[in-house]
């Protein structure tokens, strides 16, 4: 209850400070600060004459505010937004604006992203506050603001437009921004801030323009893993490698035998030869690698999870082999398996999936069961784990018992040392989440 009230106050402070920042120009802010200073020193009118400065500054700011009512703007706009961006990578897109009113100068354009309701438990989990002693579990305004920025999804720079031409065809502005989290980034619209005559107060005009794009996880170079897995029989061939079915890879034509399914009859050959000829299929054998992503936070922080997703995305990107399939397996609300490679699906789709994957509240056994069912068709396995506890070690042991080559990437917070890890398998990589690029590069 108290934390709810606190967060509400934080939101109010945030809203007020945002209002001030968006409604006053640099000179406006300067005069506002000096207004308070002159008021503080001017309380005693006998001691200084700063009360004279106070009245003049106050009048200027009041008139600036009143002037802003004279500003009228009629525009239409279109945002050219690419489909994908990557977390942490500075990117840009364009907005085309058609001004139907008079010309304005020194205007500022800034985007408005979707805001989300934040709860104290979200902040606690994100910053791992619950891991700290009770007296340090304080949600400060700074933490709240950081989490708010994170939820919003991107840091978008304000664009200064020197001139918005009068009734001109179109003006184009380039907006630079840096996504700070994975997932869908939702744009509500943008504001155009036009300064008043004195250049102190800005009228903020909202242009609604809803749009969204997808932010993909960060990816780092990883050398291809040399896991010597045998080719496995893939029931149904490539086309249905990822689904249930009975089809096979085409081999040759032969005479019809009793029991052959009618849909395998080649009707053209039947017309040509006058007898039933069927298509013969051969079962396929190829390499199929599974990528196992640990989505169970347990005592790990969200930052660790983000790093695990990044590692998974990096492996997906760099472990491409034209003749192999890659299955991404993880547990969200239920166990999921997404397959790509050999023309089945494209890599961006796997990246899209990884962009939206969230920590699971399910039990680890769900993933264990899913992977054990999948094991017979897997040539090799890559596990991205966030801890090295007993149940994870047991799972890995099962791979060894089934004689399947595998590699383990263990993401940690910098507290572990490779020499201290017990029961580590042959291909075991310790990845420090603060040093992802270097640690993955060293694999």
């Amino acid at each position: 209850m108290a934390s709810k009230l606190l967060l509400r106050q934080f939101y109010k402070v945030y809203r007020y400070s945002r209002w001030f920042r968006s409604h006053f120009t640099f000179m406006g802010h300067t005069l506002l600060i000096f207004l308070f200073v002159s008021a503080a020193f001017g309380v005693d009118t006998q001691a200084t004459t700063s009360y004279q400065a106070f009245t003049f500054l106050l009048m200027l700011l009041i008139l600036a505010f009143l002037n802003s009512f004279l500003i009228k703007l009629n525009i239409s706009a279109k945002r050219h937004l690419p489909k994908y961006f990557t977390v942490g990578e500075q990117s840009h897109y364009r907005i085309k604006i058609r001004n139907k009113s008079k010309k304005y100068q020194n205007i500022t354009i800034y985007e408005e992203l979707q805001t989300y309701k934040i709860t104290s438990s979200q902040i606690n989990h994100w910053f791992g506050l619950y891991l700290l002693p009770w007296h340090k579990r304080v949600i400060s305004f700074n933490l709240w603001r950081k989490f708010m920025a994170y939820k919003r999804g991107a840091e978008i720079n304000k664009v200064q437009l020197l001139l918005l031409e009068e009734k001109k065809d179109e003006s184009e502005v380039q907006v630079e921004f840096t996504p700070i989290r994975r997932g869908i980034l939702e744009f509500k619209g943008f504001y155009i801030a036009i300064p008043d005559i004195l250049g102190l107060y800005q009228k903020n005009i909202f242009i609604p323009l809803k749009q969204s794009c997808l932010i993909l996880p960060r990816r780092f170079p990883v050398a291809p893993l040399k896991l010597e897995g045998n080719r496995k029989h893939q029931s149904g061939g490539v086309s249905l490698a990822s689904s249930v079915g009975d089809s096979s890879e085409f081999l040759s034509l032969r005479d019809y035998r009793k029991g052959d399914p009618l849909n395998s009859v080649n009707w053209k050959s039947f017309a040509r030869h006058g007898k039933l000829i069927v298509k013969e299929y051969q079962d396929e054998y190829f390499v199929r690698r599974a990528l196992l992503l640990d989505t169970f936070l347990d005592e790990s922080s969200n930052v660790l999870f983000e790093s695990a997703v990044s590692v998974a995305a990096s492996i997906c990107m760099t472990q491409r082999q034209n003749d192999a399939l890659l299955d991404l397996m993880f547990v969200g609300d239920k166990a999921h398996c997404f397959t790509s490679g050999r023309g089945i699906d494209h890599m961006p789709h796997i990246q899209e999936v990884l962009a939206c994957v969230q920590p699971s509240s399910d039990s680890f056994e769900t993933l264990q069961d899913a992977i054990m069912q999948h094991l017979p068709i897997c040539s090799s396995l890559v596990c991205v784990l966030m801890s090295w506890d007993k149940k994870r070690q047991e799972l890995v042991n099962k791979f060894q018992i089934n004689n399947i080559p595998y590699a383990v990437f263990l993401i940690h917070d910098g507290s572990l040392k490779i020499s201290e890890i017990e029961n580590k398998p042959e291909n075991f990589y310790l990845i420090d989440h603060n040093n992802l690029a270097d640690d993955l590069g060293a694999v």
Binding site: F34, S38, F41, T49, F56, V303
Partner: protein, 645 residues
């Protein structure tokens, strides 16, 4: 930028002119004026800018500590305003003489130091500095239109420089003129309002100040009358006593007034050697002009410089231009002499009934003045009770009548006024006195403590040509007041004592000691700043910050080719054509006719864009080729330089 520099220089001249601080003004002027002529610049990093702000805070602390420790000025806060350009100068100089040319916003706003990168922006500090310099001219306190006119002209010019492009000049002039006009009228109004509010606030809100000409009694007011436990001053005296502030002789319209309202300069009285004098010492801090609380018959008031004292005929002593804290002594005769006035015997008609009754009861008509005084005091002490509570709000006259005949309980004002009327009814000139009762002895400091709640009222009667105090309030009033003291009183007393000892030391210790303490204070402030900084660092280290998360690295970002790229950009050699923004590396290198570079770029492209990347051997080859290429270029560069001209 030139016009901004011009404004800056102009504001510094104005500031120097107003404050007469010419030396620093000239130095700052010269530093700004030669800025664009001098080529060298410091490479100041963001954190170093922050340290400069910290240094400015230290400067502020030095100015304040110096002002308070050495007691050089009445109010060091106004000195701070006066010297604003001095303590802001390091920030301005850092901006002007840095490569960056602008100031990171975190330098001025501490909260922005941890803001996200898109919120952080660089600002130009020249105009805010100009406005600060103009505002600091206000500390000179020239109560003439010159400051207002200067401020309006310069500030309007600054706004004109910064106005948006679409603004018409005529509109701008119109708006600024309106602001000036309204500003002028409102600052005059504000001054009057401020004086009025100050007067009201002193009388009604604080309750600790005394109007020597008029007093509003709390008689008849509903609820509990309770003054604060705040320590107002400390007194060194050999006995408890009453300190007089003001006396009132005229009761009119339910208010007490002083018939003599003029003040004349206070003259220290010369006394003969035979006269027996006593002495008290008072330790007091002052926030504004006050009426001094003095014992009867003050002759010499010492150690209150630079205060100016003035005195009314009715014995009130007003002090203006007081220091922030003083330890002053008063020599007194304990005999109050003052001329009697025609109002000193007047009794309001509405009170004659109860006066007649009480007078008969006490048989006052048959007694001498001294006996009358004793009888009145004994009557109130034995028959009446002290209380701060009044159950029902009534008219002041009605309340007094009810107090005398029915309720027989009230606070000091009831007793004092009733005594004054009884004395007057008996033919003795009498007045109402406001002041303090000095009773609470603090053995640890050997001083009497006087709190706001010790504010007291009593009667004074002229007997044998001297005014003698008659305090008829039952003696339990001090205990009742003390019982109601606030739960946090010991804490506030402790702080007050600390402040008292600090001030005592400040005024008494020698200058060598002060210098050591002054240096100690500065070092301690620096230590605190460092400690705060360190604690914050520790606190943030405990949490995993979003900013610390590594950003996306591109494939081949560590390619050695980028050394060549930076070489091209840093070496502005004409034959080395810079690549256009949209030009691919291969297209660019073809025009350069450099087969070695072409090979390097091929390897670089493979590293950057081929999913297979480079083999170990190819990677080594790329590194070696880049080294060879760079060696060759640098040798060529040196060879060109060695050529005879």
């Amino acid at each position: 930028m030139n016009s901004r520099r011009g404004t800056l220089l102009l504001s510094i001249i104005i500031w120097s002119g107003f404050t007469q601080i010419w030396f620093f003004g000239i130095v700052l002027f010269a530093l700004i004026a030669i800025n664009h002529k001098v080529q060298w610049r410091w490479n100041i990093k963001t954190k170093q800018f922050y340290r400069i702000t910290d240094f400015c805070i230290v400067l502020i602390l030095i100015i304040l500590s110096y002002g308070y420790v050495f007691n050089t000025v009445v109010n060091p806060i106004f000195t701070l305003l006066k010297l604003a350009p001095l303590w802001l100068a390091p920030i301005l100089i850092a901006q002007l003489y840095s490569i960056r040319t602008l100031l990171p916003i975190g330098t001025l706003l501490y909260s922005m130091r941890k803001a996200s990168s898109n919120e952080k922006q660089d600002i130009d500090f020249t105009l805010p500095f100009s406005i600060a310099a103009l505002l600091s001219c206000a500390s000179v306190n020239l109560q003439s239109p010159i400051f207002f006119i200067t401020l309006c002209v310069i500030l309007s010019y600054i706004l004109w420089l910064e106005r948006p492009g679409h603004v018409k000049n005529i509109m701008f002039l119109l708006i600024v003129s309106i602001a000036t006009l309204f500003g002028h009228f409102s600052h005059n109004g504000l001054k009057q309002l401020s004086s009025y509010v100050q007067e009201i606030a002193i009388e009604w809100l604080t309750g600790s100040e005394t109007n020597p000409f008029k007093t509003y009694t709390s008689i008849g007011q509903v609820g509990e009358l309770k003054l604060s436990d705040k320590i107002v001053f400390r007194v060194k005296s050999d006995r408890p006593l009453l300190l007089h502030q003001a006396s009132y002789n005229l009761y009119f319209n339910k208010e007490w007034h002083a018939s003599e309202t003029t003040f004349s300069p206070y003259i220290q009285q010369k006394i003969s050697n035979k006269t027996k004098v006593k002495k008290i010492e008072i330790y007091q801090d002052f926030s504004s002009d006050i009426i001094l609380a003095l014992p009867d018959g003050p002759t010499i008031i010492k150690d209150l410089a630079p205060a100016q004292l003035s005195q009314s005929k009715m014995g009130a002593v007003k002090a203006v231009n007081l220091p922030s804290w003083a330890h002053y002594s008063i020599t007194y005769t304990d005999i109050r002499l003052s001329e009697e006035s025609k109002f000193d015997l007047k009794v309001p008609k509405q009170h004659l009934d109860w006066l007649n009754q009480v007078s008969k009861k006490l048989k006052l008509k048959q007694k001498s003045p001294v006996q009358i005084m004793k009888s009145i005091k004994a009557y109130f002490q034995s028959q009446y009770f002290y209380t701060l509570y009044t159950p029902k709000q009534v008219d002041a006259d009605q309340a007094l009548i009810k107090f005398m005949l029915k309720r027989k309980a009230g606070h000091c004002e009831y007793f004092a006024i009733a005594s004054v009327f009884l004395l007057r009814y008996s033919g003795i000139p009498a007045r109402l006195v406001n002041g303090f009762s000095v009773q609470e002895y603090d053995a640890s400091s050997d001083l009497y403590i006087v709190r706001a709640r010790h504010s007291h009222a009593w009667a004074t009667a002229k007997v044998d040509d001297t005014w003698q105090a008659l305090d008829a309030t039952p003696s339990q009033w001090l205990q009742i007041e003390e019982q109601d003291s606030h739960i946090f009183q010991p804490i506030s007393d402790w702080f007050s004592k600390l402040y008292f000892h600090f001030n005592q030391w400040r005024l008494s210790s020698n200058s060598d000691n002060k210098i050591f303490i002054f240096i100690g204070l500065i070092l301690f402030s620096l230590y605190l700043l460092r400690l705060v900084d360190k604690n914050k660092q520790l606190a943030t280290n405990n949490l995993t910050k979003i900013e610390n998360m590594p950003f996306c690295t591109l494939l081949g970002e560590d390619s050695e080719y980028f050394i060549i790229d930076s070489f091209y950009r840093s070496e502005k050699q004409e034959e080395l054509k810079l690549r256009q923004n949209n030009e691919t590396l291969l297209n660019w290198v073809q025009n350069l006719d450099d087969p070695q570079l072409k090979e390097i770029i091929k390897l670089h492209n493979k590293l950057r864009f081929d999913p297979e990347g480079l083999t170990q051997e190819q990677r080594i080859a790329l590194r070696e080729r880049v080294t060879i290429w760079l060696d060759k270029k640098s040798k060529k560069g040196r060879g060109d330089n060695d050529k005879p001209i």
